[in-house]
C-alpha cells in the first residue's frame, strides 16, 4: 500500500520529464527482493489489440506458478517460491522493446522470462534481453528469432517453416485416407503478417511441388479484410481440393468463413486448413455460428492435448476459458521449464539458468506440455524435435486430432 501511494504521487509529478527520470532512479531501488523468492518474468501484450492473447498467457503462467509453489517450489534452492513479474509489452514493437528495457533495468533479479506472443514483439524483446543476458522462452514461431546467433533465447514451438514442413504431409495423408484419392489442387489465401508469410513460403516454393500438388489459387491480403467476396469467387471458379487459409485477425477468419458458406462452399464442401491460432480462438464463437466452423482444421505449435485434461478443466473453472489454446499451455509449460532449469542451476542467477537451459536434456518432465520432442535446445535455441498439433473444430470445440499419440478426438475429413 505504501509503495502504491508513492507511485501515485510521483505519477502526478512525472508530467515533468525530470521528475519522471528521478522517479525511475528512486523507484528502481524500491523493488527490494525477498530472499526466499525467485523472480520470473512474463512480458506479454496486456493493452492494445493483442491484449486478449496476452491475458491468456498470463493465465497459463499464473496457473503454473501456483502449481510449482504448491508442489514445494524449487527443491534445490531450499523450496524457494517463484514470483511472477508481469510486464505489459504493449501493442507495437517499439513499446515491446521499451518494456523489455524496463523489465531488465527494474527487475534485475529476474532469472528468466517468457514472452512475447507476436513474433515481432519477441524479436524486439529478445534484442534487449540478449544484451542483458536474460534467458527468454518463447512460443513465437518466426524462424528469425532463433537464426540471429543469439544465446539467451529458447524457442519451444516448432518454427514457422518447420511447421509447414511437418503439417503438410499429415494433412495430405489424412485427406487421402478419408477420400480415397490424393488431393490434386490447393488454394492458398493468406494475410501478409510475418508468421503467415513464413508458413506459406516453403509451401509455395517447394513442399507442394514435392507432393505433386498444383497451386491453383494464390492470394495474399492485408488485414483487416473489407470484403472476402473476390477471394471466395476465385476459389469457387478454381474448385481446389482443399484451401489453406491463414488469417491472423479473427474478423478476417469470420468474414472468410461466412462468405464461403454464402457461396455454398462452406461446412466442408471444400475443406479448409489454417495455420495458427486465430481460427480456433474462443472469441470466434462470440460472433459466429459454430456450425460454420465445424470441421475446419488448423495447424498450431501447441494446444491442450491428451494428458492435459485436468489443466483444461481448471482454466475453464478458474478463468472461464472454454478450452486451452497454445497461449495458455505453452506459457504454463515455459514456467515448468524455468523451474527445471533452476533445479539444475542450483542458484537464482540468470546466467546459471541460461547455462542450464543450454545443457538440459531430458525426456518427459516439462516436455509433456509440448507436442513432440524432448526438453533439449539446440545451439540456436530451438527445441529439439519440436512437433505441432493439428486441431479440428468438433462439436463447437477445437480439439487436438493429430498427432495420434496426443489426440483427444479422431480427425475426420469433411466430405461433400
Amino acid at each position: 500500500m505504501e509503495a502504491l501511494k508513492i507511485n501515485r504521487r510521483d505519477l502526478l509529478k512525472s508530467t515533468a520529464a525530470t521528475a519522471a527520470l528521478a522517479y525511475g532512479m528512486a523507484g528502481a531501488s524500491a523493488f527490494a527482493q525477498t530472499p526466499a523468492e525467485v523472480e520470473v518474468g512474463l512480458i506479454v501484450p496486456l493493452s492494445g489489440i493483442y491484449a486478449r492473447p496476452g491475458q491468456v498467457m498470463r493465465m497459463g503462467a499464473e496457473m503454473a506458478i501456483e502449481d510449482i509453489n504448491a508442489a514445494g517450489g524449487i527443491g534445490s534452492l531450499g523450496g524457494a517460491k517463484l514470483k511472477l513479474v508481469i510486464v505489459d509489452a504493449g501493442d507495437s514493437t517499439e513499446k515491446s522493446k521499451n518494456a523489455a528495457q524496463r523489465m531488465v533495468a527494474e527487475h534485475t533479479n529476474l532469472v528468466a522470462a517468457s514472452g512475447a506472443y507476436l513474433s515481432s514483439f519477441t524479436l524486439a524483446v529478445t534484442e534487449v534481453t540478449e544484451r542483458a543476458g536474460l534467458p527468454v522462452l518463447t512460443l513465437s514461431y518466426s524462424d528469425l528469432i532463433t537464426s540471429r546467433g543469439f544465446k539467451y533465447v529458447f524457442q519451444t514451438s516448432a518454427t514457422a517453416a518447420s511447421q509447414a514442413e511437418q503439417s503438410l504431409p499429415v494433412v495430405i495423408d489424412l485427406a487421402t485416407r478419408a477420400t480415397g484419392s490424393k488431393p490434386k489442387s490447393v488454394a492458398i489465401v493468406t494475410d501478409n503478417t510475418a508468421a503467415s508469410v513464413a508458413s506459406v513460403k516453403p509451401m509455395r516454393e517447394r513442399l507442394l511441388k514435392e507432393l505433386g500438388i498444383e497451386l491453383v489459387v494464390d492470394e495474399t491480403f492485408t488485414p483487416p479484410l473489407a470484403d472476402a467476396t473476390p477471394l471466395v469467387q476465385r476459389i469457387r471458379s478454381a474448385r481446389p481440393d482443399l484451401v489453406f487459409f491463414l488469417p491472423t485477425v479473427i474478423s478476417d477468419a469470420k468474414l472468410m468463413l461466412e462468405k464461403l458458406n454464402e457461396f455454398g462452399l462452406g461446412q466442408g464442401r471444400i475443406p479448409l486448413i489454417s495455420f495458427g491460432i486465430a481460427i480456433a480462438e474462443p472469441d470466434l464463437l462470440k460472433t459466429m455460428n459454430p456450425a460454420l466452423v465445424e470441421g475446419v482444421m488448423t495447424c498450431v505449435g501447441n494446444w491442450g492435448f491428451k494428458g492435459h485434461e485436468a489443466l483444461i478443466k481448471r482454466i475453464k473453472d478458474k478463468y472461464n476459458e472454454p478450452w486451452m489454446t497454445q497461449n495458455a499451455i505453452s506459457t504454463y509449460g515455459d514456467m515448468w521449464i524455468i523451474k527445471e532449469a533452476l533445479e539444475s542451476a542450483k542458484k537464482a542467477d540468470k546466467e546459471a539458468v541460461a547455462q542450464a537451459l543450454r545443457t538440459v536434456d531430458m525426456d518427459g518432465g516439462p516436455a509433456r506440455y509440448f507436442p513432440g520432442g524432448k526438453l533439449k535446445f539446440d545451439e540456436n535455441g530451438r527445441r529439439v524435435g519440436a512437433g505441432l498439433t493439428i486441431v479440428q473444430w468438433r462439436n463447437g470445440i477445437p480439439s487436438t486430432v493429430a498427432p495420434a499419440n496426443i489426440a483427444m478426438a479422431e480427425p475426420y475429413w469433411p466430405k461433400k
Binding site: 525511475g24 532512479m25 534484442e127
Partner: protein, 596 residues
C-alpha cells in the same frame, strides 16, 4: 557571432541534459532519455516544414521510415555501419522530400495534409510486400563500436544530443536567414509572399528537403536504438502523429516547441504505460489523449508560446507607459510633418514620356462571367494612373492579371516592351512590379521591420543589403518610429503604409496599389496620399485602384474608368469627372450618394 549567441540556450540545455544523463544508471531511463531526443529532433524536422510554412504534414513517417530502413538494410545486406549509413539516410530523406514535394505542393491546406498522409501508408505496404515485416539490426560481437553498438546506453543519449544540437543550429540558421523569412512569410500569407518576390514553391521544396533529410537521419538513428525495424513502427500513423504532437504540444514555429513537447510527452506516455499498463490496460492512452486535448484547448499554439506570451505580458505591464508615449509622440510628429510636405509640393502632371507598362486587349472570363474584356491602356514612366470603377467592375481581376496571380485568356502585358503574361508573381516582382492588396496581408506575428525585409530579398544579395533596403523603404513611407512593433498591433493606416513599404523594399519601378485608401478616415487618406505623391516624385511609377473618386482627383495624372469589365473612358481627371457618360452611367449615383 549572433548565431552563436542564439545557440547559447541550446548549448546550456545540452550541458544540463548531458550532466543528467551521466547520473542515470538504469538502462531503461537511459533509453527514455535517448527517445526524448529522437522525438525532439523528429518534431524539429516536422517544424521545419509545417511549423514555418504552415503546411501541415501528416506524413513525416515516410522520411523517418525510409531513413530507418535504409540504415538497417545497409547494415544487414552490405555491412555498412550506421556511422556512414545515418548521414546517407539524410540524403535519402532529402531525395524523398523532393520527390514527394514536387507533386504535393500543388495542393494547399487540408488537401496537402491528407495527401501527405498517403505516402507513409503506401510505403508501409510496400515494405511489407518486399518481405521486410521485421528486420533486426545484426548484433556485432567483435567490433560493436564500429557499428554504433554500445554496452553503455548513455553513448546513444549523447549521440542523440549531438544530433539535436546540430539540428537546432540548422534551424536557427534557417530562422535568421532569408530562408526562414521566406517560410514564415509563406505561412502568414502565401499570396503576399509571392507578391513580395518570394519564389514560394522553390522555398517550400528546399524546406521539405531539409526537413526530410533531418527525418531520414534521425530515422536511421532510431533504427540503431530500436534494434528491430518493422513497417508499422517507422511508417505507421503513430510515427507521423508523434512528430506532429510533440511540435504542436510544445509550440509550433520555434526550436523550443518540439524540445519541450518531447521532454514532457515521451516520458509521460512511457510512465503511464509502465505504471498503469499492466493494471488498467489501455488507460494510458486515455490519459495521454486527454492531456493533449487539454493543452490544445488551453494553449492552442503550444506550451512555448503560451508561456512566452504570459511572460511578455507581465514584463510589458511594468514598462507599458513610457514607450507607448514616446511612440505616440514620434508618430504624431511624423503625421504632422507629412501633410505639410504635401502642401509644399504642387504636383505637375506627367502626361508625356516613355511608356513603362502597356496593356493590350486583356481579357479574362470566369465561366460565363466576363470579368475583364479587351482592356487596353498604357502607363508612362513616373505617372500616377488611377483605375476606377464601382464594385464588381473588374478592377481587382485586372490587377491580378497584371501581376501574375491570374492568367489572362487573351491579351498582352508589356513591361518595358517585354510580355509578362504567364509569369509567376514572384518573377514579376523581381522584374520590378510591386503590389499591395485590397485586403491587407500583413505577417501579423512579425515586426514592421521583418515584414518589410521580406519584400527586400527580391533585390538584395545579402542580409545587410536587405536590411538597408528595408530601412530605406520604411523611411520613405514615414514609419521609422514603428520599426520594432509587431504588425498585429498596428492601425489600419500604419498597416497600409507598412504594406507600401514592403512593396517598396524590392525597389519596384512600377507599383500597383489595390484600394490603398480603403478603410481610412478623412485625415488619414490625406496622409497616405501625401506618401504616394512623394513616391511618384521620387520616380516610382504608380497604378492605383480606388472606387472613392474625390481623393483620387487630387492624386492621379490620368484615369482609366472600368465598368462591367470594359474600359468606359480614359483621360485626364477633369475630363473624366466632367464626362456625362461617366457621371450618368457610373459616377452619378455614387457621387450624389457620397454627398447626400
Amino acid at each position: 557571432m549572433a548565431l552563436l549567441r542564439s545557440l547559447a540556450p541550446a548549448l546550456a540545455f545540452a550541458a544540463v541534459y548531458f550532466a543528467a544523463s551521466l547520473a542515470v544508471t538504469n538502462s531503461y531511463y537511459q533509453l527514455m532519455m535517448t527517445l526524448v531526443l529522437v522525438w525532439a529532433v523528429m518534431g524539429l524536422s516536422w517544424n521545419m516544414i509545417s511549423g514555418y510554412t504552415g503546411l501541415v504534414s501528416f506524413g513525416h513517417a515516410a522520411f523517418f521510415g525510409l531513413g530507418a530502413y535504409f540504415t538497417v538494410l545497409a547494415h544487414v545486406f552490405f555491412g555498412i555501419s550506421p556511422w556512414i549509413a545515418i548521414p546517407l539516410a539524410g540524403v535519402v530523406g532529402a531525395a524523398a522530400g523532393l520527390v514527394v514535394g514536387i507533386p504535393t505542393f500543388r495542393l494547399r491546406g487540408h488537401y496537402f495534409a491528407l495527401s501527405m498522409l498517403a505516402y507513409p501508408l503506401a510505403l508501409l505496404y510496400v515494405f511489407e510486400w518486399l518481405g521486410f515485416q521485421e528486420v533486426s539490426v545484426p548484433m556485432e560481437r567483435t567490433s560493436p563500436v564500429a557499428y554504433m553498438q554500445f554496452q553503455d546506453h548513455r553513448v546513444h543519449t549523447w549521440l542523440a544530443l549531438a544530433i539535436l544540437v546540430g539540428v537546432i543550429a540548422v534551424t536557427r540558421m534557417v530562422e535568421r536567414s532569408r530562408f526562414g523569412m521566406a517560410l514564415i512569410a509563406i505561412k502568414q500569407n502565401e499570396a503576399a509572399a509571392e507578391a513580395a518576390g518570394i519564389d514560394t514553391l522553390a522555398w517550400k521544396l528546399r524546406a521539405m528537403m531539409l526537413s526530410a533529410a533531418i527525418a531520414g537521419a534521425i530515422g536511421g538513428f532510431y533504427a540503431v536504438v530500436l534494434l528491430v525495424v518493422t513497417p508499422v513502427a517507422v511508417f505507421g500513423m503513430l510515427a507521423s502523429a508523434q512528430a506532429l504532437t510533440v511540435a504542436m504540444f510544445g509550440g509550433v514555429g520555434t526550436v523550443w516547441g518540439p524540445v519541450i513537447g518531447a521532454l514532457i510527452l515521451i516520458p509521460t506516455s512511457e510512465t503511464l504505460h509502465a505504471e498503469l499498463g499492466a493494471r488498467l490496460p489501455g488507460i494510458q492512452g486515455v490519459i495521454y489523449g486527454l492531456a493533449i486535448v487539454a493543452v490544445v484547448l488551453l494553449a492552442p499554439e503550444g506550451v512555448y508560446w503560451k508561456v512566452r506570451d504570459k511572460l511578455r505580458q507581465r514584463r510589458s505591464r511594468g514598462e507599458a507607459v513610457r514607450p507607448a508615449d514616446a511612440q505616440a509622440a514620434t508618430a504624431a510628429a511624423a503625421d504632422a510633418a507629412a501633410p505639410a510636405a504635401v502642401a509644399e509640393l504642387p504636383r505637375r502632371r506627367v502626361t508625356h514620356g516613355r511608356t513603362l507598362l502597356d496593356v493590350r486587349n486583356l481579357s479574362k472570363s470566369f465561366g460565363g462571367l466576363k470579368a475583364v474584356q479587351n482592356v487596353s491602356f498604357s502607363v508612362i514612366e513616373g505617372q500616377i494612373l488611377g483605375i476606377i470603377g464601382p464594385n464588381g467592375a473588374g478592377k481587382t481581376t485586372l490587377f491580378n492579371l497584371l501581376n501574375g496571380f491570374l492568367k489572362p485568356d487573351a491579351g498582352e502585358v508589356l513591361l518595358d516592351g517585354t510580355d509578362m503574361v504567364g509569369r509567376k508573381p514572384h518573377d514579376l516582382c523581381a522584374a520590378g512590379m510591386g503590389r499591395t492588396f485590397q485586403v491587407m496581408r500583413p505577417f501579423a506575428r512579425m515586426t514592421v521591420a521583418e515584414n518589410v525585409i521580406v519584400g527586400a530579398y527580391v533585390k538584395a544579395k545579402t542580409e545587410d543589403e536587405a536590411r538597408a533596403l528595408a530601412a530605406q523603404a520604411i523611411a520613405r513611407v514615414g514609419l521609422e518610429a514603428h520599426v520594432d512593433r509587431v504588425a498585429g498591433g498596428l492601425t489600419t493606416k500604419e498597416l497600409r503604409l507598412m504594406e507600401l513599404a514592403r512593396a517598396l523594399a524590392g525597389q519596384p519601378r512600377l507599383l500597383l496599389l489595390d484600394e490603398t485608401l480603403a478603410g481610412l478616415g478623412r485625415g488619414e487618406v490625406g496622409d497616405v496620399i501625401a506618401v504616394v505623391r512623394r513616391l511618384a516624385a521620387e520616380g516610382t511609377t504608380i497604378v492605383i485602384i480606388e472606387h472613392t473618386m474625390h481623393a483620387m482627383v487630387r492624386l492621379v495624372d490620368s484615369f482609366v474608368v472600368l465598368d462591367h469589365g470594359k474600359v468606359l473612358l480614359d483621360g485626364a481627371p477633369e475630363e473624366v469627372t466632367r464626362d456625362p457618360l461617366v457621371i450618368e452611367a457610373y459616377l452619378g449615383s455614387k457621387w450624389s450618394n457620397a454627398h447626400a
